[in-house]
Amino acid sequence: MSIALTAPPPSRMRLGIRTGLIIAVLLLAALPILNMLPRDSAFHVSDFIVSVTGKWICYAVLALSLDLAWGYAGILSLGHGAFFALGGYAMGMHLMRLIGPRGAYGHPVLPDFMVFLGYTELPWFWHGFQSFPYAMLMVMLVPGALALVVGFLAFRSRITGVYLSILTQAMTYALMLAFFRNDMGFGGNNGFTDFKELLGMPLGTPSARAVLFYASLVLLVGSMLLCAALTRTKYGRVLTAIRDAESRARFLGYDTTRHKLFAFVLSAMLAGLAGALYVPQVGIINPGEFSPGNSIEAVIWVAVGGRGTLVGALLGAFSVNALKTWLTSAAPDLWLFALGGLFVAVTLFLPRGLIGLFDRVKKGRGA
């Protein structure tokens, strides 16, 4: 009987991953410090590396949130970029309000784009965004609410698999078209740029970069811990059960709509937070972030890393984006072949992603 009472012992593999993760986080945390070193030092890390890594961290959180929805709950959302972008827009609105009279036209309240488009007063939905706590609330609430509505309608109607993917794709596509309209009051194609400060800290300085970098890193570690803890509870197992045999789970008495909705909304909120930290780091948010291609790319990061493992999502987000950054400079005409080829190769030969590859190699050695 004792064998049944204990939970399974953590495998060596898991321990390995944990150590690896801790080292990776420590190394990441060291980057801004190395950036402060004198330029001629061998360990100096350029601003470019810090800022680009900060961006990847946000992508990694997006990948993580997607892995929670797809890898665990089986919801392949091709519209996760929309939640990311909505979080980004909420943060962007806050940053725009903070510009205040420092805009080109010196208007005390209206952002520049509203001035030259002839707005006379702030649209109602812009009110409140001057407050940081309110903006942060919106960063999570807006994507969460959208996920709640779309998820509720879809899950209640038992829309799953491919249909759900197409539906979420249509969602982000419709949002993209809508946000491209200048009449929406979100700056149209140009979106928001020219941010000045955040929490009293002028943007575009090394210290602001470091602060945002650490904030992203904290978000990443926090989300990782949250997702890991969540997936280790019975709830995580219920999600896996729903993913593998949803109707069986229903006959066991699990209201799968509620369970999926919970995961989907949580995932959307995480994506929104990632977007919110992304925007001040890249300095721009525009409707291009809603483009369906972006969401598919995010799915591909997870697939490349290995889905349903959390660590795989991080691995995928970092490796694919690093590759992209490198290749768009090293082979500007050919990088699409390399990236496209990678996606093909991974789906064909590594159904469990890079994580699966390491697993296989390890098993091969052990045998």
């Binding site: 064998i3 019975k234 197992r237 219920v238 993913r243 109707s247 229903r250 008495g253 699990y254 209201d255």
Partner: protein
């Protein structure tokens, strides 16, 4: 335990003009073990779908005690105490045997409740008990995906037991089992009945005979004959349906 009876009256299900169930009426008393037999397409699985909320009847009443099942969805019906075992064993392949049974264990089913849930000694004992009952203690930490066909059938029955239902719907439980396993299963179902109501759908007449209880024969969506196994086996209409073509 105050039992509730299952009550189907005049249930009709139409798919695209095809009548899968045709004015079907059936009563299963608390604690009863009822076998249901019938040729392919007689409407056995559709009947289970209607009871468990998967399919909405075109007309007719389905009641469990005083609850109208036609208005409820699958999870609510399951939580009322109606458990179902599928024809093709469906268990959660990526989870271990232990975890499969843990999920089935009677407990609050909401997301927050699941997050807060932790394995108490009592629960672990209960899971151990169920695993013993279905003979899968040794495989407790193996993923269900690597079990043999028979073991998966057992696991699913174990999950049903862990659910602690008032009414069990069992669809072809012995398909693909050896004779010994079949006998064991029959004995177990008989043991379960009494405490709970059990409805077994089966092709295997020997197995039904081994159960030795009341039998209902379905044909083209309605009840053709009902009574003891000997009674139905000698019913000319049943002979006609089974042998006449």
């Amino acid at each position: 335990m105050k039992g509730r009876s299952l009550y189907l009256d005049g249930v009709t299900v139409v798919f695209d003009g095809f009548r899968a169930l045709n004015n079907l009426s059936l009563v299963v008393e608390p604690g009863e073990l009822r076998a249901i037999i019938g040729p392919n397409g007689a409407g056995k699985t559709t009947m289970m779908d209607v009871i468990t909320g998967k399919t909405r009847p075109t007309s007719g009443t389905v009641r469990f005690g005083d609850m109208d099942l036609t208005r409820l969805d699958e999870p609510t019906i399951a939580n009322l105490g109606i458990g179902r075992k599928f024809q093709k064993p469906t268990v959660f392949d990526d989870l271990t045997v232990f975890e499969n049974i843990e999920l089935a264990l009677k407990a609050p089913r909401g997301p927050i409740a699941c997050i807060k849930w932790h394995l108490t000694g009592e629960a672990a004992d209960r899971i151990g008990q169920v695993m013993t009952e279905v003979g899968l203690v040794e495989r407790a930490h193996d993923p269900a995906g690597i079990l043999s066909h028979g073991q998966r059938q057992w696991l699913e029955i174990g999950m049903l037991l862990a659910q602690d239902p008032e009414l069990l719907l069992v669809d072809e439980p012995v398909a693909g089992m050896t004779d010994a396993e079949t006998e064991h299963t029959a004995a177990m179902l008989v043991g379960i009945a009494g405490k709970r109501s059990v409805v077994v759908v089966e092709h295997d007449l020997e197995f039904v005979r081994a159960l030795g209880r009341r039998v209902t024969v379905l044909h083209e969506g309605s009840v053709l004959s009902e009574g003891s196994i000997d009674h139905v086996q000698n019913d000319p209409r049943v002979i006609e349906v089974y042998l006449g073509r």
